[in-house]
Amino acid sequence: MILHIAWFELRYWLRSWMLWIFTLIIAVLIFGATSSDQVQIGSSLGNTYRNAPYVIENYYAIVSLLTLLMVTAFINSAAARDFSYNTYQIVFATPMRRRDFLLGRFAGATTASVIPMLGISIGILLAKYMPWVEPDRWERVIWAAHLNGILVFAIPNTFFMAAILFTIAVLARNEIVSFIGALLLLTAYGVSDALLSDIERERIAALLDPFAARTFALATNIGRSLKRTGSARASADCSCGTGCCGLALASLS
């Protein structure tokens, strides 16, 4: 039941131009940032390879900030669709289980929300083959870095955002409240950013960042990258944990 509902939800989004426009925008942004110096997202690329694993994963972490509002729109629509399109009387008069229905909707909309993030990989992969780029700034395609970006940042970050936003949307049934929730997540990022400037508080800052972008920065800023990469993963796991709590709360309510 849950799988069917999730698949129905995912197909709903796959037919939506909004999803593909977002994917395109992100792909174009990242394409611009990696293939030219005129576009900069986050910190400058410095003297690393333009498609170094660090660059790829950093983009996956930072772009969560951009996709936050998009995820809010998707998740809000999934949670409130039957009220906004006045189908609730038909849907809620069926003997379906509310838990299955909500979890299915959530799973489908969350999966759909990850798709625009793949624009990062599309942008970087395309940029490598542009005639104007300097070949010696590009290394071979490291697929593991793309996979790592998706597994460590795209999926946990989206899941974390979606779980909180879905809970808010189901409980509040109000679009404005959902967007305030999204703004609170942004605020948490801002707070962690500010805390990071204080070296004594960098660990708490890293844990507090809902998108793990600062965590990643901390983990990679000086040597010891192997150990630090481990801490980036820990933060992603922590995000997942919080997301699960939010979701559990939603299904209970």
Binding site: H4, F8, Y12, T87, I90, A93, T94, P95, M96
Partner: protein
Amino acid sequence: MELTISGLSKTYANGVKALDNVSLTIPNGMYGLLGPNGAGKSTLMRTIATLQEADSGSAQLGTIDVLKQKDDVRKLLGYLPQEFGVYPRISAQDMLEHLALLKGIGGSSQRKELVGAMLKRCNLHDVRKKSLSSYSGGMRQRFGIAQALIGNPKLLIVDEPTAGLDPGERNRFYNLLAEVGEQVIVILSTHIVEDVTDLCTKMAIIHEGRVLYEGRPDDAVAELNGRVWQRSIDKSELSNYEGRYRVISNRLVAGHPHLHVLSVTPPEDGFSPSSPDLEDVFFTRIRGWN
């Protein structure tokens, strides 16, 4: 199976008494619930469809307590709400298959088969791949009945289904409902008298939350035999007549008011006897004259 409603009441937060001690006994077959807009019909329909709570009273469907065993009711229920929307970018086929799943019909091939048959039955098979949001009013209403009929409901509730349909579509809709037959309970809520005349063997008239009549339409009409009179008058005389008689209805016929009045004894010259119909019953009942 029989649906028994007793003493159902509902008052909204704004003080509107939508249901006032409503008691009805609804057997298998087509049951008409007739009332003007705002009479409380939709509140009653939504309450039976488990979408709304009542303040007091009870409802029993066979052995099921409708107000408490909501899931059991939903397994037997087909519901066409008065107003409903559709998701954008979804075809009738996809939406029906999705709703069949939510209704608990297992196996995707079984759902496909069932939905295919239902689309043919509701004459939507040719447009099954089109987006529901592009459907005309009549098509959308046929989709509405299709989704309500999926899963062979034992209790079918249709709320104001023919409002806004052209005569052709209305007939098509009537035929669909009539096909469901006498085997299940069909509650047809409407403000259109013809709906009840054409389809229903039993009916109730409801007004301001109260049941004013419950019984067979024929019996209700027979009660008015010999008491309804008609005549055409000039427009300027209308208020004069309304002051002197119990005017059941006045309808313009070729630009002149054509009156139906209620009177036990023959009124003045110019009136001729009229054979009563359900519309006369409806108006005399909601005005409290009968």
